[in-house]
């Protein structure tokens, strides 16, 4: 066991980790931040996406030790301290961008990474960016709508399917 320390959602957090401890295990089991989900554990589904030093990564495929000293953001840090949802989260609610909600933490974190680099993405760009995020419920349509809306764009342009 080695002690590792990282900034998570703006706060310094430390804990013990083995060499093999995955970042997602450290977040969920050691720090108790269970908002980040494990859907596949094989880098396919994106339910575990968090940001490390501002970049979206699959936390099931990164060692906790690799994030020692890093700045990590998770779904828990997205809403304001009083619980007010951020624009992306609110848009997911308004546009029914979730059903069971299992994929949602990863979808929101991927969407946040996309909008940081590309504040007004097209529908095609959104769909392309979400290639690594799988949703078994929504059919993606309302997720794309929510991200269009969160970026201040007209969602009427996306035809209902």
């Amino acid at each position: 066991m080695t002690k590792i320390t990282m900034t998570v959602n703006g706060k310094t957090r430390s804990g013990d980790a083995e060499g093999r401890t995955l970042l997602v295990q450290f977040l969920r089991d050691t720090l108790g931040l269970t908002g980040t989900h494990v859907g596949c554990d094989t880098s396919q589904c994106g339910a575990c996406v968090v940001h490390v030093n501002g970049k979206a990564v699959k936390s099931c495929t990164m060692l906790a030790a690799e994030a020692d000293g890093a700045d990590v953001s998770t779904i828990e840090g997205q809403a304001a301290p009083d619980g007010t949802l951020n624009a992306i989260q609110q848009a997911f609610q308004d546009h029914h961008g979730l059903q069971c909600g299992f994929c949602t933490p990863g979808m929101v974190m991927s969407a946040a990474a996309l909008l940081k680099d590309n504040p007004k993405p097209t529908e095609t760009e959104i769909r392309h960016y979400l290639e690594g995020n799988i949703c078994r419920c929504t059919g993606y349509h309302n997720i794309v709508k929510a991200i269009m809306a969160a970026s201040g764009q007209d969602v009427g342009a996306i035809a209902a399917e």
Partner: protein, 261 residues
């Protein structure tokens, strides 16, 4: 995954020293190695992360050659390799954004997955694989499925790509894995055209020499019309037969040439 010792050296020399230990292995972005370890198909006793070595990350160009640091993530290549647009596009098409933020060029070339994208770019560009010990020409580097000229404990520190006059990579994506079902990289240089194929060959990435000769004569999609590859030399699996892949190689080659023109 079995447990191991994790170390993150700050220099190449320290990494090489750490890799001398028996069963020590280099860790690039971990996008291939960690899944392999979870399946217990690899069980190193020590992982030597290359992620803390600043010298190994970066993209630079002198106009004739584009050089990538060995641990440069795909996303960094996609946004900084403008001097070699076909290579930047290839890097930007690997997997998904999160995979591209972690996965590295050195990891991809060291792994030499028969369906990976970078091997085709390295081979079609006649790239030089630079390691801590020597320089290896791409033509000598790839040695069959998941096998390369690298020795145990040797790491890729940089890759040098001669910049072609025109080039294009066409990937027919396997939709579940997002790797190439077939990928063809065509690069035109002053002294001829090079064509490298990934995803298809039984022995991994290969140069399609008949197409190279035809395209060096006439750089048009029609130039390869009369050529054909045998399905017997191609991978056949549940995603496609050998004959299907052989057909796709020609289609992707034509598309790549058309995209260059």
């Amino acid at each position: 995954m079995y447990n191991f010792e994790f170390v993150k050296p700050a220099t190449v020399d320290e990494a090489i020293a750490a890799l001398r230990e028996e069963d020590a292995q280099a860790l690039g972005g971990g996008q291939t190695l960690l899944p392999t370890m979870k399946q217990r198909l690899a069980m190193p006793s020590k992982l030597v992360s290359l992620g803390g070595i600043a010298d190994l990350v970066g993209v630079s160009s002198d106009g004739a050659t584009l050089t990538l640091g060995g641990a440069t993530p795909h996303a960094v290549v996609a946004s900084n390799a403008g001097a070699y647009p076909a290579l930047a596009a290839l890097a930007g098409g690997i997997g998904d954004p999160a995979v591209r933020n972690r996965g590295t060029v050195g990891g991809s070339l060291a792994n030499n997955d028969p369906a990976a994208c970078y091997p085709s770019a390295a081979l079609a560009s006649g790239a030089t694989i630079v390691t801590n010990a020597r320089e290896i020409a791409a033509d000598d580097y790839f040695q069959g499925l998941f096998s390369t000229a690298l020795d145990e404990g040797e790491i890729i520190t940089a890759v040098r790509f001669p910049i072609p006059q025109r080039a294009n990579y066409q990937k027919f994506e396997q939709p579940a894995s997002r790797f190439a079902l077939v990928g063809v990289f065509v690069a035109q240089y002053a002294d001829g055209v090079r064509v490298a194929v990934t995803g298809a060959g039984n022995d991994g990435v290969f140069r399609w020499s008949e197409a190279e000769a035809a395209l060096s004569g006439s750089f048009t999609p029609d130039a390869v019309d009369g050529l054909s590859l045998s399905g017997d030399d191609m991978i056949g699996d549940l995603h496609g037969t050998g004959a299907y892949r052989a057909h796709l190689v020609k289609v992707m080659t034509k598309r790549a040439v058309a995209a260059c023109n």
